[in-house]
């Protein structure tokens, strides 16, 4: 646990060593605001809730989370620092988790910095703050799912751009798993059970109720399992390809 914290701290400090972290947070906040006010019609709806804000998170994350996760392992492999890290007395798991938690904490910070919108809605009306907290928790969990996918894609390559594109593509498939775009590719030949299973993997479907403030245990377990699955995949990929 001690080592995980040490690795996470170093990684997190690394984000802020360059302007990348600040640029990222700025873009995240600008886009979140633009989506909420223009596409979401925050004022026009005349309702005191943050649905127009949270509804766009999956789309915001689709492109921004891979930008965070792309350097996690690709950079480490390119610079050779992975050889240094993994020959120190740490386990592969401590390294995988340390880096993942750093990226997740960074995302949590970006998300926390959207607090002005929460103040705004409280100032304009009286929203159900329980719903808003639940939606924030759900959004952070979904971000964790995206990050775990990104971590795995980053482990596959030494090139950050490739890692970014792979993460966007895989995340997009997961996002839309419940929609015809993805399902039609399987309907023609796969049994109905498999199609249903794929449909149930959709980030959007699972996030839908969370965005409304309903924290269903099944949705939480779903995002948790997604993280566990892709972090295990990260460790396996690293174990096989770390020296290449």
């Amino acid at each position: 646990m001690h080592h995980i914290v040490t690795i996470a701290k170093r990684e997190l400090a690394g984000y802020f060593a360059t302007p990348v972290a600040y640029v990222f947070i700025l873009i995240f906040l600008l886009l979140a605001a633009a989506f909420t006010f223009y596409l979401g019609g925050f004022y026009e709806r005349g309702q005191a809730d943050l649905a127009p804000f949270f509804n766009f998170h999956p789309w915001l994350f689709l492109f921004l989370i891979p930008a965070i996760s792309m350097r996690l392992w690709a950079e480490e492999r390119k610079s050779g620092a992975i050889e240094l890290l993994l020959t120190l007395p740490v386990t592969l798991w401590q390294a995988v988790l340390g880096k993942f938690f750093a990226a997740w904490a960074f995302t949590a910070l970006a998300l926390a910095l959207t607090f002005p919108i929460w103040i705004t809605v409280n100032w304009l009306g009286s929203p159900d703050n329980g719903v808003i907290v639940a939606a924030y928790v759900g959004s952070l969990l979904m971000a964790g799912g995206f990050l775990a996918i990104g971590s795995c894609m980053s482990a596959l390559t030494r090139n950050q751009v490739v890692a970014f594109i792979l993460a966007v593509v895989v995340s997009f498939a997961f996002l839309l798993a419940g929609f015809p775009l993805v399902l039609d590719a399987f309907r023609a030949w796969a049994p109905q059970a498999l199609v249903d299973a794929i449909a149930s993997l959709s980030f959007l479907t699972h996030f839908e109720s969370i965005a409304k403030g309903v924290l269903d245990l099944r949705d939480l377990v779903y995002f948790a399992l997604t993280m566990v699955f892709f972090l295990i995949a990260t460790a396996i990929v690293l174990d096989v390809r770390k020296s290449e």
Binding site: R10, G14, A17, G80, E83, L84, T87, T91, K242
Partner: protein, 307 residues
């Protein structure tokens, strides 16, 4: 100590390391030599626990690198090829990070950090970002990181690569200083380094050990071992001197470099030539600028056995 037993690593169809067995004890400095692609780095990576052997085993201080990886890694200081580090960190920040993962705390942490920074002359750049440092400084940061926890076993992959002659000398004396009670393995391309720091040398080629000897023992395999080199004072004596040397029964061959008035007499079966050559010079009145006995040429041995 380090022990490897039939250590082997395959990459797809290529066998990078093929059944390498050796043992290095405390007090020994083993030079690991071989042409590029011979398997040096792969062997060191397996000992350091970065890549798993396809078969065979390696252990550090009795800890098998696959069964007890953490204990083995704790006993080992390792400088990976190219001395990688985290470029965006400061030297002090980076060494502090390694110290934390090495479990150094409190006063020990402070003393050890101060010691390596002083020993590798990193004081002037301690607050600087590693990316902004010269190659020589980065290499020294890598060495500092490897010796930070005062490990009983050190594996250094090309520790002097990219250093200037003064820095090379510094690193070599550091290795000599630590050699007394540590087990050290150093890989290098530079053969003079073997003479300067190693008590023993292993040459590998195509993934196999082709020689395992002391540097003197290796040099003795050279055609030039016990050869006598002389530099003539007068150019007109070059041809007669060459003929006179070639006529000696113990001389196998005479190499000549007329422009530099230099002659080298190679002995038959490593016999001693010095007395004979001296006698010939006195008899024929050959004027000499210099006369030296050669210990043998490592580069020649290296080329012969790795070709």
């Amino acid at each position: 100590m380090i022990k490897t037993e039939r250590l082997t690593r395959h990459y797809d169809t290529l066998t990078a390391v093929d059944g390498i067995s050796f043992e290095v004890r405390p007090g020994e400095v083993l030079g690991f030599l071989g042409p590029n692609g011979a398997g040096k780095t792969t062997t060191m990576r397996m000992i350091a626990g970065f890549i798993a052997p396809s078969s065979g085993s390696a252990s550090v201080c009795g800890h098998d690198i696959e069964r007890e990886p953490l204990a083995a890694k704790a006993a080992l200081g390792y400088l990976p090829e190219g001395a990688p580090s985290y470029g965006e960190m400061s030297v002090l920040g980076f060494l502090g990070f390694v110290a934390d993962l090495r479990g150094l705390e409190g006063a020990t942490r402070r003393t050890r950090l101060a010691h390596v920074i002083d020993r590798l002359a990193l004081g002037s750049v301690a607050e600087q970002t590693i990316d902004t440092l010269s190659k020589g400084f980065r290499r020294r940061v890598g060495i500092a990181q490897a010796i930070l926890h005062d490990p009983p076993v050190l594996v250094l992959d090309e520790p002097t690569d990219g250093l200037d002659p003064n820095q090379k000398h510094e690193v070599r004396s550091l290795i000599n200083e630590m050699a007394a009670d540590k087990t050290i393995v150093v890989s290098t391309h530079i053969l003079e380094e073997v003479d300067a720091v190693c008590t023993r040398a292993i040459i590998i080629a195509h993934g196999r050990i082709v020689a395992d000897d002391t540097p003197q023992g290796l040099a003795a395999r050279s055609r030039h071992h016990n050869a006598v080199s002389l530099r003539l004072a007068r150019a007109e004596q070059f041809a007669p001197a060459r003929a006179a040397l070639a006529a000696l029964p113990q001389v196998a061959e005479v190499e000549g470099d007329e422009a530099n008035r230099r002659l080298t007499a190679l002995p038959r079966n490593g016999a001693s030539l010095l007395a004979d050559v001296n006698a010939v010079a006195a008899r024929d009145g050959i004027a000499l600028d210099s006369l030296e006995l050669e210990p043998g040429r490592l580069d020649e041995v290296f080329r012969t056995i790795t070709a």
